[in-house]
Symmetry: D3
Subunit: 254 residues, 6 copies
């Protein structure tokens, strides 16, 4: 188990934004970002900003009815000018693109990984992650922020008598972070310019107990070996611990 | 011409949110809300919050080429949980709905109404208005906020040598406000609960010189006569003057 | 109140098609244009020709069920060669365009403005306006023609025992006309060539009692002031009175 | 070769609408039905009414460029209330249905069958057939009417110097008619109620020289044998001769 | 009636692939091509290869409920590299093309033509024909192969107690073959290179009793007369008899 | 490094299909499965059967032009009856689903991971993976099969002078296999019934040199720890070595 005060990786390197290789960007989690949703969170990881809402609805989709189980889904999207070049709206194009689909599914799986569907009962939570500004790591920020929105929604549901206990639904904490190999060096939490140059890029979602919910490592540009994988997972573990501390701090406030 | 310090309408009435019939909701305009776009504004009118960005692109669509003229378009959308009930994403439904189309076109016309296309040259501005939270008046807030984003984008374009003069492009100021008749009383700037009960509902976009760019009055529930129309236009004029003062104040800051 | 025999505007001007500024194009309303629909009308305003049908269906959409109220919707479309240049079919493009959406919604609101939904009961009327030939004013012709089709459909519904009384459903008459400012002169009922040159363009739907159901004034090319607005509304009132006379004459025939 | 004054089939039978088995419904072909298209025809076969326009455009689609050859396509559609029950618009559904596709392709092939693409040169004709009222035989009426619109468009193109000779382009006449077996009896030109009951249904497009361009016989309900086929083809030949006489008569007028 | 050992057409001609004008390409029908479907057949006609599956589902679509009748539909598609040039996927394009629609409908009609819907009861069969390799005649191969898959599905349904008798459902055999006129000579079973050069192209679906279920003859390039039609039908009859022998042989195996 | 003759995992367990936990299903790779594509492979892993084609096209998409680099993409799809219950076609639904998008992107990344884009030059390879029968592991079978099709396409391209050297393009071998934890036991190559019950499910794409190109581990049902991850990766390494032997064997044949 990695102590989070320990340093990891090559400490002699200073990154373009002044960070060490094992350092997260500043994280800011704002709860109740908007008033209406059952959970509404703005998460900022460096310049990446994602608005995450959790919508609680009594009842489940038809295919899930009479199972006694709940359901959690997620949708991810980017506002047109989240990016340097404007991206055309998928609504206007008339179809959801592959990247959007891929990330939406990832976010959904990660949150379902910490939800006890029995305890949720026949209720549904819809997570919406809308990227206001993108500077790398939008999918991992979405997961980390969405978890906080989910917690708020569960407390709302408990307070409103829809579920017996928010704590029973939430089996564990989940957060996610990106890691990657840049010019042969493993680094934590890649902003967009690093992400573009990464030879290996990995997104790691972990629980509070230090287990994995999702690992997605991709190496279009140069395959990685076991030892590199282990370094990346160490970095991810360190980053996730810190993100979970930030989640907890946000949830402790009222 | 109405002096904006004057009162208008029935001053004996106090609205649900404590306002007089001729009073705007608090307006807050935040420039540089995000870092990347040429213009990026968050406008808040009461609980309504819209993020407006202006994207400047050199060149115009094919049908406009070799005309010497620029072009300005707008797209409006709501995030799924801008509303009390979650609204399905139009990207997921695979089509843009009628209301969205109608508002996008309205915003575009209003901004084009104050732009000198000759002075803009063969360049394009794309306005994006994304509603983070909806409490009535999202289309008029979009116009008012988008104008400020447009101004910032024009200054960016001047500073970067794309246009000769931002001032030459911007022929006038534009803002918009809603007015309506509730239970027989004309009122300014309707929040959602009033909007629902309005017998007549009108959106009025005006220039700084007090002329009209767009009037859209609709009376599905009870037609209105000339005298009611005149009262509504007086209220709209007062509201727009105040909104334009807020725009100016925001633009005066650096 | 304007007497319809009075003249309005600058009588010294003769328009390209020989009309005075306050003169409508010839209107022809043919009922029972096709045999099958509950209401079927061909309206011709100059060279503009729109086929308007009204479909009566017992029952209402799900969201309206058990309300005791009826519903009226409208869809507008142009045949490909209604225009000088062929327009691609929206069915082939796979999506309904913004202009089509905007007009469909306008026509629907105008007709709902004169229908007593209680008296209609849980029944639905679907209006279809298909432009066979377009020469300006297709949306206002659609409203004027659709009203006549609606009346026929209501009589059919009464005769067939679906509603108690057609007269109870129809609270008032509705017609619509376009007005605009061309080269500084306010004019009534703009054909396409004038419409293109209009600095201000306004569509005005009015009831038989002279009140407004919808005002849509747009001034992309030059804003208009209160006094111009008043002149335009006077012209619209005169035009609508004459259109309503034409509606009545058509309905008087058998 | 069948003489068109001869009678065919069982003359003892009188059909629901009073016709003999070998009798066409009344045909009416109105040229210049609308003013704008290069060819615009309303064809009425009994209660079936189809508006057929031919749009001439200089130039061909990319895949046909530099071939020296022209191109002819067709699109068929039904207005929503052409039918007894209202049909939802394909534009609103966002896709063109199978029946529409099938008929559009049929109409296109039939017209191409009489066009000399070399003589047409690199020009395109787009045929649009919009059914105003449907009472059986809409696809064959479309072909018959579209041919007349095509002829008008070719004369327009000749007069405007786009093609050398309309006569050179038009290799032959084409018309089409439906035939079918109802309760064991072969009949010509089926209206909707007969069409529904037909055991075999066949659409036959023929040239003026009596040859076939398209035969589409379908027998979902009871297969047919060679002898029945021959009777049906005899009826179709008789019908097409009469339709071609109607086309000629319409084209003879000015 | 043509004896299938007889020769037909001009026997002096040898085709590019060595066949006589009245000769089929080699046919191979493989049942149980995949394990899961109720019927699964690979049919190979020369280089054309189509996988045909029949899916049996208890119950019918809503519009057919409580009729006591079953339903049979079909969908046809080509894999992207069935053809020499890769064809874009219709799923990616977001719409089914006209050719696909046309063929799907044809296959469905042909199979329905030999099914007793009463005997099928309120059950549905969905035929899927996916072209693995295309060398002409894919639609007729689909029909011929799908019939065999249908028979297997009916036996499955009988064995599983869904229908009383497979034999009662299957009123007759159906197969289909293409014929055409190449350089003035009528030929049977056209591969792609011949299909391209065909002046007349005809697809003929016949029952085991020698009657027609569907005839689709098209002559974009040169119309055909009665005598040519008769030769083509003779060839089709011969081809279909041989295809039906191949179907029977396949079905005889276990 | 794991020797592939070694055994891994709990050897006392026998799986439902008789395999040991570290045993692959039988693999069969058929090259030249169809005749037309530059590479065409049928891969069978147990009952899973995927047809993989590689289409070589000279030139690259517009965004890649003048880069001197090639491009490789992939599309994955399932035939409707690949599965026990028929799956509706995405072409008919009008949109590509999230799962399809996700897998298509995965396959594309894996193949790009072993391609030297410089050596490919400005040429494009499109991989199509169509699942004829699905019994778990369709995405990993797609990758393994597609690699063989890619090799064939590269040899075709070399032989036809489009690229200098197939060997220069292919930097390494790639194959993929699924591993998972079933009832607490790590297992290799999961068929559908195991896949459904897996608590953790991981797809691992590896090169011939034993490095990773893609790791996608997901644990919706029970998170996994480092030690489980290591066991899974050992199994995946063993499986991939054997799959690469099968690839090599297939490629050795002519």
């Amino acid at each position: 188990m990695v102590e989070i005060t320990d340093t990891l990786g090559d400490q002699s390197i200073t990154r373009q934004d002044g960070r060490k290789v094992d350092q997260l960007r500043p994280v800011r989690i704002t709860r109740h970002f908007t008033d209406v949703p059952e959970g509404s969170v703005l998460i900022e990881c460096g310049n990446t900003r994602v608005m995450c809402t959790a919508t609680f609805t009594a009842g489940v989709p038809r295919w899930r009815q009479d199972s006694g189980l709940g359901w959690v889904t997620a949708e991810y999207a980017m506002l047109p000018r989240a990016t340097k070049e404007r991206t055309d709206r998928e609504s206007v194009k008339g179809k959801v693109g592959g990247r959007t689909h891929e990330i939406s599914r990832l976010v959904g799986r990660c949150l379902r990984g910490v939800v006890d569907m029995q305890a949720l009962g026949e209720n549904q939570v819809q997570i919406d992650c809308d990227v206001l500004q993108a500077d790398g790591g939008t999918r991992t920020a979405s997961i980390t922020g969405a978890y906080v929105a989910l917690v708020d929604a569960m407390h709302w549901a408990e307070a409103n008598g829809h579920i017996a206990s928010a704590d029973a639904v939430l089996k564990d904490v989940v957060s996610a972070v990106s890691v990657g190999v840049i010019d042969g060096t493993a680094m934590l939490d890649l902003p967009y310019p690093e992400d573009c140059r990464a030879m290996t890029d990995m997104n790691v979602a972990m629980t509070g107990s230090g287990t994995f919910i999702e690992i997605q490592g991709t190496a279009e540009h140069r395959p990685f070996n076991r030892s590199e994988l282990n370094t990346l997972l160490d970095l991810a573990e360190k980053g996730n611990k810190q993100l979970q501390a930030a989640q907890q701090a946000a949830l402790a406030q009222d």
